[in-house]
């Protein structure tokens, strides 16, 4: 085994680097979006109107609030307020679940209307609308996967806090999970206006 060493700053720096890889991953989808928007501006507006702006806005507020709660959790553990840390982490996870439930209802409705990648109905609406929804589903889908991963990470770390393995002296795991969660929020901050709000 290797020599034990502790380097909290290094651990955070490594996490930031990992977050950059996630940004580049999503950037591929956003580049395709930019290209397609440039080519089909009117169809993108028309397609955007088919998305449910209420679900989108509520989900935006849900994620922003979850970013608040996990940020508060870091302060809580720095101040050795273990119970508060756990409660705030759990609220973050609950908000994540709310986000995913909203998504479930939103997508059920869309798919029920025959709008999903590869569907005949979508193809009939023309290339501009087709590419909008293809990119929407793939981007929001990949984002949803990250919501799942991020909230699971927070769940695991919350358990470690409860067990006393993550403490006010040693909380890098919680910090890094929070960083990952903020990235999930950041992706949505861009996804929301670009897909839901085109006029």
């Amino acid at each position: 085994m290797s020599i034990e060493h502790r380097d909290d700053t290094g651990a955070r720096f490594g996490m930031w680097l990992f977050l950059y890889t996630e940004v580049i991953l999503f950037s591929g989808l956003f580049i395709l979006y930019a290209v397609s928007l440039a080519r089909h501006p009117h169809e993108f507006a028309e397609a955007s109107h088919k998305l449910n702006i209420y679900f989108g806005t509520v989900n935006t507020l849900v994620l922003l609030t979850s970013s608040l709660t996990i940020a508060l959790a870091i302060t809580a553990i720095q101040r050795n307020k273990i119970r508060q840390t756990i409660i705030l982490s759990v609220i973050t996870i609950v908000l994540a679940i709310v986000f995913l439930i909203n998504k479930y209802f939103e997508w059920s409705a869309e798919i029920g209307h025959g709008i999903y990648p590869g569907s005949e109905h979508l193809a009939e609406m023309g290339p501009g609308i087709t590419v909008f929804f293809n990119l929407y589903y793939f981007t929001a889908g990949l984002h949803g996967l990250h919501v799942l991963i991020g909230s699971s990470l927070i769940g695991v770390v919350a358990i470690l806090v409860a067990k006393g393995k993550v403490t006010s002296d040693r909380y890098t795991l919680l910090e890094n999970s929070a960083l990952y969660w903020h990235l999930v929020d950041l992706v949505w901050i861009f996804l929301f206006p670009l897909y839901y709000l085109i006029l």
Binding site: M1, S2, I3, H5, D7, T9, G10, A11, F13, G14, L17, F18, Y20, T21, E22, V23, I24, L25, F26, S27, G28, L29, I31, L32, V35, S36, R39, H40, E43, P117, G118, A123, G126, P127, G128, I129, T130, V131, F132, N134, L135, Y137, F138, L142
Partner: protein, 541 residues
Amino acid sequence: MTETTLTNKGFYTDSPRSGILGWLLSTDHKRIGIMYLCCILAMFIVAACLGLLIRLELIAPGVTIMKAQTYNATFTVHGIIMIFLFIIPSVPAAFGNLVLPIQLGARDVSFPKVNLLSWYCYVIGAILAVVAIFSGDGAPDTGWTFYVPFSTQTHTNVSLAALAAFMLGMSSILTGINFVTTIHRLRAKGMTWGRLPMFVWSLYATAWIQVLATPMLGITLVLVILERTFGAGLFDAARGGDPVMFQHLFWIYSHPAVYIMILPGMGVISEIIPTFARKPLFGYWAVAVSSLTIAFAGSLVWAHHMYTSGMSDFAILVFSFLTFIVAIPSAIKVFNWITTLYKGSIQLAPPMLFALGFIFNFSIGGLGGLALGAAAADIHLHDTYFVVGHFHYTMFGGLGFAFFAALHYWLPKYTGRMYNHRIAVIAFALLFVGFNVTYMAMQAVGIQGMPRRYYDYLPEFTTLNVVATLGSWVMAIGLIMMFYNLWRGVRKGAVVGNNPWGAATLEWQIPSPPPMDNFGPEDPVVTKGPYDFKGVVADEY
């Protein structure tokens, strides 16, 4: 009388867990490096055999030993294994892991468990690749570049192969994150940025590209898999997509990838030349900054792979111009290596021979790259054997030879034993001659117009193809000789001390093979530069 009993086996025996689990669950950078090295060598041999089969098919026009479909699968798998399972991980994952922490004066990398995870990602990727070749509708036949629309429509195992490449990309990303953090955070006392060995600088630049470019490959592969699964039409013009966008996304990674491939090799050369000229590297900061410049400039030029794709004339102009710029820092390195040799005390030991071979081969490859970078010339040369010659000169004649140089340089340190020099020199000569015969013939037949990825060709191309195939057999003999010599050296060679080459970097100040904790109980304190040979004496062996 040469010593043959290796009494102290360092990190091979000194481990908290014994047996096979002591290796498979080890988070020690040296054990992980050895595990990577074994896998990488195995993959190289498999892919090299596929290459020999390709050359056998091409010894005569028409069907020789395989039909068109098999040929397409063979060159595809040859490319996938060579690029993702050999070249990209070869120097960073094997030698980077073995050498980097020690050269920094550290005891391990910043994230040892992530390091082990990166090896498992590699192994999973390798297994998936093997499954992709032998199951279902068979090995992918798209070329390693997976261009749409063929890759989204062919029945072969493209999705599995794409998943394999995704796992291998994950492995590369984790290595990159580890190395950037390690170099920033774990340098020993006195190891300032200006005292870093050039190998470390090259790994640093490489690691940044691994972090920032590889995820683009990730999303591109995911999109191919999603397309094959849902048939959405993301790259289908009739449904609002653009097949050329696939090429943009693909090459945004795959061009910087070639710098992931070559930069660590250049780092190896920068270690070997000073040691075997017994002179400090000329232009330390120029070479260090050139590594960073190559990493940056390499992200500006990807669409020079796309001049004939249908993209805009303006883009062709921009990318051609930027491509000429990226040649400059590489040239700076070559000039500095040559100047290091000037008035040096040169020993033509095997590592040095491979390093000199690198400089020769890479220079030819680089100049060929300039010809291809010129858009007007590329219209004729694109997708011909000129391209195949170019990338084999840089990737095989360049990185391949650098990898062999690294083997000859560092295996004695990490095994404690020395191979036979005379056989190494003969093997090198066969390799060097065979290599240049094979690939110069390809450059020539490419200019004459022979397309790549064809199992058949016009009768007028026959002579050069025969020459290339004969050259490949000379290379094969050289490779067999080289590997046999290294293997015998590792098992039974003369035992070496700390510093058989008389080098000045930190790994040569500790036993061969190194102990598990690298430096013993005290952390090292660095007071000299990496190429300060004053008072450094080589151990006899």
